[in-house]
Amino acid sequence: MAGTTSEPRHSAGQRRTVDEREVARFAALADTWWDPRGSMRVLHKFNPVRVGYIRDEAARHFGRDPSGLTCLHGLSVVDIGCGGGLLCEPLARLGAEVTGLDPAATNVEVARLHAERGGLAITYRDETVEALAARGERFDIVCAMEVVEHVADVGAFVAACCAVVKPGGLLFMATINRTLKSYALAIVGAEYVLRWLPRGTHSWEKFVTPDELTDAIEDNGLSVLDRTGVVYNPLADSWRPSHDLDVNYMLVAARPEQREA
């Protein structure tokens, strides 16, 4: 059903002038990002668990009914490391005002194109969270899913993420734990045996444990509300939340409301 290429549609005036060959290249890339059976297959399988977690925790925190189709209505969200927009689009459909951030200009172009096709209003920018923090921009919900394991300086990255959370807002992070099990599953399993991910996608030494991440976040004045593991069920070919934090895990932290002076 998916994967059929269509003419890229875009409203005039909204896009920068790009040459047609570039647009075609982005369209092809968008189809790659968005093909549930293509090279991003694992991310597609993983996505519902992430969205479900963000939805449920945010609904609880902001007093919304998670069964409503637009339960994030009016909340501002920034997704750091948005890639092709796999997380931004569902969050936008749930009613959030979403900004997607990715340092790779190609990703941003691909994500923008795909959102336009689906008629979704999402702001995409090719910049870093540090730049956002420096300008003092803030959001109700900040997501940095599967980014921590790729950054050079975890402390500085976490500080920048925390800085863009509004008082009373939430920070979501997802990453991979540094355990023997994660070495076996995430590196040997996913990259070498199953070929889910290109070799060299991850380096184990960069993985961060839940406690290290919690400390880094709480050093910035937020408090961690929940930590949840995510495990793969090979029989159902799907991911589900779990108490087991040994490999993949997600957490949510809140910045306290501002005290009246």
């Binding site: 059903m1 939805r55 409503g68 189709l69 637009t70 459909r93 749930l94």
Partner: protein, 432 residues
């Protein structure tokens, strides 16, 4: 978002805008029979107004006439629970007749006494009969009213064509209007044109039989008993209806070979009455025909796929079974319960209304189940539609065994009630 702006909107007006919701939150349903209307209501209620739902059907131009001319159906307990969860059961409950017990006989027409070979009397839970007889028109009218109240847009027009792409499906109506949506559901009955347009094949065959349907008045009360006489030409079912204006009534489904049915249906009234009486028997006293007798050609079939890009089939458009087991609507509404659940769950995760995984999960859940039911009812019909001794032996022995084993019988009752297997939330009586 939850405002019921769909009510009273004249057709063609503002359909394009669809309450300002994007295509990924708009559903068009082609066909407003029991399957189409129940799906519309399930989606509107399950999404609390978060989905824009439009039903097209020329038959929606006026309310279903109702009365003795209406066809009636056995509604299984699972479906009744679903109507309760959707808030429509109360509108038909006082005209619904519980089936308290069901008798199956196997006999030749001339047999003076028809021995009962199987007797189901059962409740799925204490006080909950396994089925109710409800007049189709009552249900259609109750569903249409509930749909309007839930903000569904009902348009008395046919769907003429559509084209589905990766981002949306564009649907053309009889008045030439084009509507953009995320998903088109075909609920346009057994001869579904939308299924053909989607290029989905159909595997099936005719039974060479016609089901003659009529409403019968009789002197004595039926006591909530359903009777199925397995006659050599095919089953003859007597199903209890609610008393109307002091008259005891039953609905019959009378199966005959096509040529015989054609002959019967053109007989003068008194001759038809005589033929009817020979089959109906005299247990309930003098009988009268309260409605014209109408014939429905019977066939069996199943669509090769239940889904395609931004497209899904439900109800008779997806599958057709012999009315012998009174399961057509019940299977169709199980499609609806599963499809609505998959769609709503996907939308709650911010996914497209035509999410590929959700549609494939619907197809996986339903196509297998339908094949099982199709084979079961087909086998039942073949077993009973002959005057051949081994067949009679098998059915006498087979049903005799069932009769003696309470556990098996209990399973049959729950199966007939639609409460076996992975039961979708709506059929457990839960809200979506």
């Amino acid at each position: 978002m939850a405002a019921a702006t769909g009510t009273g909107r004249k057709h063609g007006e503002g359909l394009q805008g669809g309450r300002g919701l994007p295509p990924a939150r708009r559903v068009v349903i082609g066909g407003g029979g029991l399957a189409g209307l129940t799906l519309a209501l399930s989606l509107a209620k399950g999404s609390a107004g978060g989905l824009d739902v439009t039903v097209f059907d020329p038959a929606l131009a006026q309310p279903a006439p109702g009365g003795d001319a209406s066809r009636a159906s056995a509604i299984a307990a699972g479906v009744r629970r679903m109507f309760e969860a959707l808030g429509v059961w109360s509108a038909v409950a006082d005209r619904a007749e519980p089936i308290l017990d069901m008798v199956i006989t196997d006999s030749r027409l001339a047999d003076p006494v028809r021995p009962s070979i199987l007797n189901f009397s059962g409740e799925v839970t204490p006080g909950e009969p396994f089925a109710h007889m409800v007049e189709n028109d009552d249900l259609i009218n109750a569903l249409a009213a509930a749909c309007r109240q839930a903000g569904v847009t009902l348009v008395a027009e046919a769907v003429m064509g559509f084209s589905a792409g990766p981002d949306r499906v564009s649907v053309t109506t009889a008045s030439g209007e084009e509507i953009e949506a995320g998903l088109l559901v075909a609920a346009d009955g057994a001869r579904s044109r939308l299924r053909d347009m989607a290029d989905i094949g159909w595997i099936g065959r005719s039974y060479g039989q016609v089901g003659i349907v009529a409403t019968i008045g009789h002197e004595r009360p039926h006591g909530g008993r359903a009777i199925e006489h397995f006659l050599p030409s095919g089953p003859f079912a007597i199903l209890p209806l609610a008393t109307r204006e002091g008259r005891h009534r039953s609905s019959i489904v009378w199966t005959e070979r096509t040529a015989d049915a054609d002959y019967l249906l053109q007989l003068p009234a008194e001759d038809l009455h005589e033929e009817l009486e020979r089959r109906f028997g005299l247990e309930l006293g003098e009988i009268t025909l309260l409605s014209p007798a109408r014939g429905f050609p019977l066939s069996i079939g199943i669509a090769r796929r239940f889904v395609a890009e931004r497209f899904a089939l439900v109800g008779d458009a997806a599958h057709l079974v012999h009315p012998i087991a009174g399961q057509g609507i019940n299977i169709g509404l199980r499609d609806v319960a599963v499809l609505a659940e998959k769609i709503i769950d996907a939308c709650r995760l911010g996914r497209d209304v035509a999410d590929e995984e959700a549609l494939l999960a619907y197809e996986r859940a339903r196509r297998f189940d339908t094949v099982t039911m199709g084979i079961a009812t087909d086998g039942l019909n073949r077993l009973f539609s002959n005057d051949f001794l081994p067949g009679r032996l098998v059915r006498d022995l087979g049903f005799g065994l069932v009769e003696r084993m309470p556990a098996v019988k209990r399973f049959f009752i729950r199966e007939a009630a639609g409460l076996v297997g992975a039961v979708p939330r709506l059929m457990r009586g839960e809200a979506l």
